[in-house]
Symmetry: C2
């Protein structure tokens, strides 16, 4: 325990940023100003670096975006592959995916936020949109089966239901800031209750 103690693993060469810390700062700025609204000069300023130094860590602006989007999507798909999302009644599986999505959203907030704003201008963005649509299809299928199994109200179109439901969940990214007065589990409980039980007190 001489090389990697509690002080952190001493790396070789000149100390400073690595590609992970560059990514973290970049994603934060992307979310503040929008991806297209952020210049490499903006990133350099936020990092306390020159523009050219960024290219030592990453191949360019697009790589920063791609790595962020992949991280968000990997976390979301991980939820759909958990056991409670694959067995049992569809409503219960749906509830598990909904709760899991809220938790992922909070845990990977900057990356999920970026994902939810992708427009499809480049190939990197279009690939992310493709994966996101696959996730949406997974959820829509659960709602459909929930209706079939008699647990979900059949008077609203399943496709509409799943979109409104996850629209609500995804909207959390627009305002939630960790460290505020709302905790993760409070968020999970609120969203789940509103989704499954509704607003009016019973």
């Amino acid at each position: 325990m001489s090389s990697s103690a509690a002080t952190g693993p001493r790396r070789l060469g000149r100390p400073g940023h690595d590609s992970a810390s560059v990514l973290a700062v970049a994603v934060r700025v992307f979310n503040e100003r929008g991806y297209d609204g952020t210049s490499m000069e903006d990133l350099a300023r936020a990092l306390g670096l020159s523009k050219s130094a960024i290219y030592h860590h990453v191949s360019g602006k697009q790589e920063l975006l791609r790595r962020s989007l992949d991280r968000a999507l990997d976390a979301l798909f991980a939820v759909t592959e958990e056991e409670p999302a694959r067995t049992g009644p569809a409503v219960d599986r749906l509830e598990h995916v909904l709760r899991g999505s809220v938790r992922v959203l909070v845990a990977e907030l900057p990356h999920v936020t970026l994902l939810l704003r992708v427009r499809g201008n480049t190939e990197v963005e279009r690939e992310a949109l493709r994966r996101r649509r696959a996730f949406d299809r997974f959820v829509a299928e659960l709602v459909r089966r929930g209706v079939e199994e008699g647990d979900v109200r059949p008077d609203i179109d399943p496709a509409l239901t799943s979109r409104l439901l996850f629209g609500m969940v995804n909207s959390i990214a627009e305002w939630y800031r960790p460290g505020g007065r709302t905790g993760t589990e409070q968020l999970v409980a609120g969203a789940t209750t509103l989704a499954f039980a509704g607003l009016r007190r019973g």
Copy 2:
């Protein structure tokens, strides 16, 4: 009725675009590629015009954005000024604002969509964000009073409730396209039911 018949009002000068038709096309492109991701060259191509011709109709890119955002915000505030939004039990007022918001969202879809994506990079955007926050406060206040009056479930924080509720409503802009199989009133009914009654069938 010789100058403005059913064929439409014959205008003076060379026919072509006016500032309204330029705005409509511009907002469509803004929503496809994002405001920052759209160049004046992109707009010119979509309009079938040269770049410089656009400046005959509007003062610049920002005016297009401002006019679109104002239109969306004016329509939303109009709902809060209607009589059913100002008198009676808070839950009912809330339901009226929710239904009205969905209708505005559909009627002014491109403009509301643009509004919901504003980041605050320019003064035009910051002004829009200020007005939007005022709308959100109006809604949050209704939820708070709904709890006070005993009609809204008190086990979820009112601020959280209003955000999730209108997060759901606003998310409609992300996918809804008029002319599809989902009609406006179906949308209003679906959102209202999900919000007030919840997902599980009772």
